[in-house]
Symmetry: C2
Subunit: 306 residues, 2 copies
C-alpha cells in the first residue's frame, strides 16, 4: 500500500521582504515528510505562492507553523499589492495526488480549517470542492471586494465565515481553505501572428464557451516570438487528457491553415497526465504505471519510510 500523498499550494500575502518570505518557507524546508517543490514571490502582486507535496500529516503541521509566522509578520491593514487577497494566509488548497480520494481531501480541508481557527483565531472560508455553501465553490465570490470590503460586510449572514466568529482577525484577515483537483498548465503555440486565431480556438476548446469540460483557456500574443498562444488550465486531466485537448486544437487550427508550432507544459505535472497521453498516441494496451522503474522505486522508498 502506497502512502496517501497530497499537493498543497498555500498563498501568503508577502512578496517583497526576503526575510519574511524565508521565515515563512522555513517550516516547509525542515519538516520531514513535506517536500518543498517550489516557491515564488511576486513583488507586484506582493504575494508568495508555495508548492508542497507530501503526506497529509506533516503538511498540516508545517502549514500551521508557517501560518503563525505569516500571521505575526503580515498586517493586512497596511498590505498593498496587485493580487486580490483577504488574509495574511490567503488561500490553502489541498490536492489529492495518490491513495487519497477527493472526499478525503475535503474532510482534510474541513478538519484542518477548524484546527487552524483554534490555533490562530483567523476565521476560515471553505471553497471549491470543500465549499459548504454552493456559491462559495468560486474563490472570487469569497474574496469579493477583498480584505477592505469583507471587514465591513463579514457581519452580514451571507458573508459569515464557515469557521469562527463573524469578524476578521485584526491584522491577518481571514483564510480560504479548500480542496481541488490538480491543475495542469498547458499552452499551445500557433504559427501565426493573428491573435484572433488563438482567441477563436480558445473559445472552441474551453468549457465556458461550450468546448471541453474542465478546460479553461484564453488566446494571447507572444510578442517577442511573432506567435500566438492558446494558454490553458486543464482542471481535470483525468476527465479530459492533454492529448484530447491537443487533438482538438490541431483539428481547429487546420481550419485557419495555421500549424501547431510547439506546446508547453508549464510547471509541475503528475506523471499520469503524460503517461496517459503517451498511451493514447502509442496505442499502448493495459499499461500500468508500476511498469515505470522510477514510479516503482518511489513507491518502495515511500513504503520503507512508513
Amino acid at each position: 500500500m502506497t502512502k496517501p500523498l497530497i499537493e498543497c499550494v498555500p498563498n501568503f500575502s508577502e512578496g517583497r521582504s526576503p526575510d519574511v518570505i524565508e521565515a515563512i518557507v522555513g517550516p516547509f524546508r525542515k519538516r520531514k515528510g513535506c517536500a518543498l517543490l517550489d516557491y515564488r514571490a511576486d513583488e507586484d502582486h506582493n504575494r508568495l505562492v508555495v508548492s508542497l507535496v507530501g503526506a497529509p500529516g506533516p503538511i498540516q503541521e508545517a502549514l500551521l507553523e508557517a501560518a503563525k509566522v505569516a500571521i505575526s509578520h503580515i498586517d493586512l491593514e497596511r498590505h498593498q499589492g496587485g493580487h486580490p487577497r483577504i488574509g495574511a494566509v490567503d488561500v490553502i488548497p489541498f490536492v489529492p495526488l495518490q491513495n487519497m480520494t477527493m472526499e478525503e481531501c475535503v474532510e482534510l480541508a474541513h478538519s484542518f480549517g477548524r484546527r487552524y481557527y483554534e490555533d490562530t483565531g483567523v476565521p476560515v472560508y471553505f471553497y471549491e470542492e470543500a465549499a459548504l455553501r454552493p456559491e462559495r465553490k468560486r474563490l472570487e465570490v469569497i474574496r469579493k471586494g477583498q480584505y477592505e470590503a469583507l471587514k465591513a460586510e463579514i457581519t452580514k449572514p451571507e458573508r459569515h465565515p464557515d469557521v469562527g466568529e463573524p469578524k476578521l482577525h485584526p491584522s491577518a484577515g481571514a483564510t480560504v481553505i479548500g480542496a481541488r483537483k490538480f491543475l495542469v498548465a498547458f499552452n499551445v503555440n500557433l504559427g501565426t501572428n493573428d491573435v484572433k486565431v488563438a482567441k477563436e480556438i480558445a473559445r472552441t476548446v474551453r468549457s465556458s464557451s461550450g468546448g471541453l469540460c474542465h478546460v479553461k483557456g484564453i488566446g494571447l500574443t507572444l510578442e517577442s516570438r511573432g506567435l500566438v498562444q492558446v494558454s490553458m488550465n486543464i482542471v481535470d486531466f483525468e476527465k479530459n487528457g492533454l492529448y484530447r485537448v491537443l487533438v482538438l486544437i490541431r483539428m481547429e487550427a487546420r481550419r485557419w491553415g495555421v500549424p501547431v508550432v510547439e506546446t508547453e507544459v508549464y510547471g509541475m505535472v503528475p506523471a499520469a497526465a503524460l503517461l496517459d497521453s503517451a498511451s493514447y498516441y502509442m496505442q499502448i494496451a493495459g499499461f500500468d504505471a508500476n511498469q515505470v522503474i522510477e514510479l516503482r522505486l518511489l513507491q518502495m522508498l515511500e513504503e520503507n519510510d512508513t
Copy 2:
C-alpha cells in the same frame, strides 16, 4: 545531485526448488539501497531471473551474498534445463539508469568481476560493453556449447576466462559479467492473421536486416487472438525512441492495408522512454523530467537517503 542508480538482472541456474530460489533472493530483499523489483523462476528453463534497482554499492554486496548461496546449492554437474548456461550464477549485467555513464558501468563490471573471483573462486568472462575481447561482446560466443563443452575447452587460449585460472569451478562453472543499456520490450500487434506481414515488417524495422539501429525484432502469430505481432527489443531507446519505431511500423503496415491494433510495453521501462515519446507526439518544447512531480519526489527521497 542525484545518486547513481543502476539496474542489475542476475540470472541463476535454479528454477525448480522454491527453497533455493528464496534463499538466493533473500540478500536482495534485505539489503538497504537495493530494490528487488521482480524475480521469475522458470521450471523448464531451470533458471531464475532477478530484476534489481539501486545504488552500485548495495547491489554489489547483495550480489556477492546471493552468489555464495547459489554456488553452495547449485551443481552444474547435475543441472539440466532448456536455457543455455555455463554457471550456477550464469550472467550478471549492470545497466546504467541515472547519474552513471556506460564507462562507469563497465568499470563497475570489471572491478566487481575481480572481487567476485577472489571471493568465490569462480572464473569470470566479460561481455557486451564490458568485453575485453571483441568477439565476447556477444554472450552466445562465451556460452558456446554451454558448461559441458566449456569444461573441456577452457584450457584453449581462445576460451580462457578474463579473470581467474583456465579451469571451471568444480560445481559452479563460470560466470559472465558485463554492462549493457536498458532493454525495452516493445510489441506491436497487427490486425491480420497473416504472419508474413509481421515478419516482413520486423525485417524492415530491425537493425540486423538494415532498418533502425538498436532494434531487434521478429514477427510471430498470436494464435488465441487471431493477430500477428512484431515483437521487439529496443536496445538503445535514447538513440531510437519507441515513437520512431512505431511511426515506421505504422507506415509500413499501410502498405499491407493492415491496422496497428495496439502496442504493448512489456515489463519495466524507464520514465524517459515514455516521456520522450509523449514529447514527440505532443510537440512539447523544453520539457524537463524535473517537472514531473513523482520524479522530483524520488530525487528528493534519494537525496535524503544519502
